[in-house]
């Protein structure tokens, strides 16, 4: 049994862990295995093997067969499955090595399978816990709380988490990047155009809030042009500037 460790070349580019449903050739549905540990547990159970004494050579072969099958069916094999394949091959190789006759007492603690068994048991525990959560949530779905009432409106604490903050922030940045792009594409508005726009507005509404007008400007350059346009119009007469209190809005009014 001086078998060479098998060689496999997998492409590690495939990111998706999604495995399609059903295949006629198999008794099991591919896709029931969320991850490599689930697949291993399935194979062990199929072999009716004892989890504490896994026939590692056989299980490794079947595991690799399964991965080959997935590849043949053009199913992207997730990196996690490949990492496990490598680990299985390593354990299998270690099992084939002759044992050191001097350290027989430590045999058990040195079982190359031990770590894997621990992981499988731990994993299985959480799978069972997940099943319990599933049952609980199903039960909960049979219970309903009251419909909204008037006083609900005034309610609620800040209904946001730090991840909402981050999400919102990212959206703003994305929006901002978009605007910068648009800005580059937009034609620059000339001073005479700006003066015309402002005059038209004063003619139409009798007065214009400078706060509002400046706020409409999309960038610094437009803002500066708008500012000069205001100065021009005031200089040439026909309009007055009025401020509503210190630091208040400034209103441009036709006289």
């Amino acid at each position: 049994m001086t078998q060479e460790p098998e060689q496999y070349s997998f492409d590690f580019h495939s990111e998706t862990a999604e495995i399609v449903r059903d295949s006629e050739e198999l008794k099991v549905k591919i896709g029931d295995f969320a991850g490599p540990l689930d697949l291993l547990l399935f194979l062990i159970r199929q072999e009716k093997a004892n989890i504490f004494d896994i026939p590692i050579a056989k299980i490794t072969d079947e595991y690799l067969n399964y991965i080959r099958l997935m590849k043949r069916l053009d199913i992207a094999v997730a990196a996690d499955f490949l990492v496990m394949a490598a680990q299985l091959i390593e354990i299998k190789t270690k099992m084939l090595l002759p044992r050191d006759p001097l350290s027989q007492e430590e045999d058990e603690s040195e079982d190359p399978r031990q770590e894997l068994v621990d992981r499988l048991l731990e994993h299985e525990k959480f799978k069972t816990a997940a099943g319990m959560l599933y049952e609980r949530s199903t039960l909960e779905q049979a219970v309903f709380t009251r419909g909204p009432i008037e006083t609900d409106e005034t309610n609620a604490e800040i209904d946001a988490t730090v991840f909402d903050l981050l999400g919102v922030f990212q959206k703003i940045l994305a929006r901002h990047a978009e605007e910068v792009k648009m800005e580059i594409e937009r034609e620059e508005i000339s001073l005479s155009d700006m003066i015309r726009t402002l005059k038209d507005r004063i003619a139409a509404f009798g007065e214009v809030s400078l706060l509002v007008f400046f706020d409409e400007m999309q960038n610094r350059r437009e803002l500066v042009t708008a500012f000069i346009a205001v100065l021009e119009i005031v200089k040439n007469g026909g309009v007055s500037l009025k401020q509503k209190g210190t630091f208040g809005d400034i209103i441009l009014k036709s006289i």
């Binding site: 990111e15 309903f144 709380t145 009251r146 419909g147 909204p148 009432i149 006083t151 005034t154 309610n155 609620a156 604490e157 800040i158 209904d159 946001a160 988490t161 730090v162 991840f163 909402d164 903050l165 981050l166 999400g167 919102v168 922030f169 990212q170 959206k171 703003i172 940045l173 929006r175 901002h176 605007e179 706020d215």
Partner: protein, 185 residues
Amino acid sequence: MEEAVQQQPARTPAELMALAEALIFVADEPISTRLIAEVLGEDKGVIDAAIDELRREYAERGSGLQIREIAGGWQLATRTEFHEEIRTFLKTRPSAKLSIAALETLAVIAYKQPVTVPEILEIRGVQSASAIKTLLDKRLIVAKGRKETVGRPMMYGTSKEFLIQFGLKDLSELPSIEDFEDLVQ
């Protein structure tokens, strides 16, 4: 309502009362006798009787709630005598949700602090004055001195209250773009 539940072996009056009670409770606006009857696949008269009995029961046991007829339907509401206590309770609740504008402004301040109003405008692309006022009122942000540039604008940063409300020990606990990217891939 075509989907009415299949008529089971006749329901007892007590069951009908309990069902009517549950439906009135979950409805998001006053629910009519006719609608309850349709949902349960029962006669309107039977439901009428059940609701009558239910109302009587609520009144008799001196419940804190009452079943009242409003806008052609039935509704569960608190008894009017308790308005004072209820108002006291409502006041204990933190005040209203943040608007999107306020949340956005808060996000900019949290991640870019200390930051001035013009800088926030630059990033959000919209005036944020009223949002900043809201955040100051809620003590989620505080002034952090003035920036030594033209006009010496006020700089803002998040407050201790912000940390408390968002369950953070300190600002380094704010998720970073990297934390988020890890999750999206």
